[in-house]
Point group: C2
Chain length 285, copies 2
């Protein structure tokens, strides 16, 4: 059996699956403090038989450099209880099997890369647009990471000509996350993003910002596929606006696949991350 953890800032999902990545059992609980959360994780997996390997995709920032003392840690997160928490180390105290460790968005990217919408591609970018905005990428089967993992939700953008909003990111104000995340939408409109009408003008603006970011990702990375996940993408019109604005802004400057093939929703839906964790686990055995 393979084990997978999707460690999100809002909720945790734990699952076990077989070697064909079928999810056999799963559970989910809100992210509270590490002690409580860890007890639930252990409670779930201890009831599962014969776990051969685990894969964890975690909210971050996290330490991914094997040589660094903070490898396996959740590091400078605004969630103070989780700051500098040795998550992987704690898991290793309880489980002797190999444990893979990456970001939540890298795990989702891995799921889509191997079993989702990018199965036939050599490269894929996954972007989540939810409480935060974050991205992960795989090129030739490997996560794109260097000195640390990507933080592509915080790139600097130009404001839309009709948007006076100064942004909600505590670090950068009007970075992508500060302009297009769920909380940024809520701050502008005064109601939760999911309560806004699908014809509200904000969705065109969100499309504009995501498109601008996608143009920059495209020029820098040239991925073969871009998968957009997260709560905000559930809004039925956002994807169309993103594709429209993207095509206008890119203006055929570089060749890309047909835009309907290039910018897509996760074909694994909400299972992208947890499936990616199973794949990560499988790579270790």
């Amino acid at each position: 059996m393979l084990a997978s953890i999707e460690a999100g800032g809002t909720k945790f999902v734990c699952a076990v699956g077989d070697h064909q990545f079928n999810i056999i059992d799963r559970t989910s609980f809100p992210t509270t403090c590490p002690e409580e959360t860890m007890a639930k994780i252990i409670g779930f997996f201890d009831a599962c038989e014969d776990i051969q390997a685990m894969g964890i995709g975690s909210f971050g920032p996290i330490g991914i450099n094997h040589q660094a003392p903070n490898y396996g840690y959740i590091t400078s997160t605004p969630k103070t209880k989780w700051r500098n928490y040795n998550f992987l180390g704690e898991m290793k105290k309880h489980y002797q099997c190999p444990i893979g460790w990456t970001t939540d968005v890298n795990a989702a990217c891995l799921g889509e890369y191997h079993l989702g919408s990018a199965t036939d591609k050599n490269s894929c970018l996954y972007l989540t647009v939810g409480t935060g905005v974050g991205g992960g990428a795989i090129f030739n089967g490997r996560f794109l990471e260097g000195f640390g993992h990507a933080e592509m939700g915080h790139i600097l953008l130009r404001n839309h000509s009709k948007d006076p909003f100064q942004g909600s990111c505590p670090y950068h104000g009007n970075c992508l996350e500060g302009l297009a995340s769920g909380p940024a939408i809520e701050k502008r409109c005064g109601v939760k993003a999911e309560e806004l009408d699908k014809n509200h003008p904000i969705w065109e603006m969100i499309g504009y910002y995501l498109a601008q970011a996608l143009v920059n990702y495209t020029l820098i990375l040239r991925p073969e596929k871009i998968v957009l996940g997260g709560g905000v993408m559930s809004q039925s019109k956002v994807l169309e606006f993103v594709k429209k604005e993207f095509s206008l802004m890119l203006a055929d400057y570089v060749e890309i696949p047909a835009v309907d093939e290039y910018i897509v929703l996760p074909s694994l839906g909400n299972n992208a991350g947890i499936t990616g964790g199973l794949i990560l686990a499988h790579q270790l055995i």
Copy 2:
């Protein structure tokens, strides 16, 4: 012997070197039309003995996808004589040895990665700031490329609050190249960039734009080293402004190496590209 071509939009450099990448002989001539240029290339290499492999780093855009019909071509360049020119195909008609093919900036990146300022790193980004702005990156020994090669000189930026310039890029106006290339500086100031005083206020602005781009590259790629080459970087104060503005804008949001180690000039100087071509050739034998 190894052969190398640095095919630039302004000039071509051809060289031969030994297996330790010492340059044994070289020549250089202006980029005119393909027929004339090709004759000079062949004239130079035909006089060299025993060429085992060649590496070409070319101005672009170029076709790099082995499966595509335009592999080996210079494609949609504004230099009309070179548009859709089968450069690699023409070379292969004359030389039977293996020939490596990549962008000029990838070749320079390869030089710096193996023999220059990034020798001890697993990842490196090379950006040239000259007539154009272009970048190439290597992660774990491989060029970063997907559906095509990067065009990171054309990312969209925010204008500096004191800069009313609308940019010189014929495609995007005020993209990075449109704001910070040599011709963009010349268009703003009315004289060639190299003739401007080192205390001219433009250099702080150029530093601001390059820094903004470097922040975005850093958040998306997390390279371990960024090497800045090209004519504009010869201006003695630009690098200091870039590093200063970069540190201000990044605001410690992600961990990077010490900035003086992270953002550097090419330690191979003008030989980065031609040396990269020799390395590319060597990888084929």
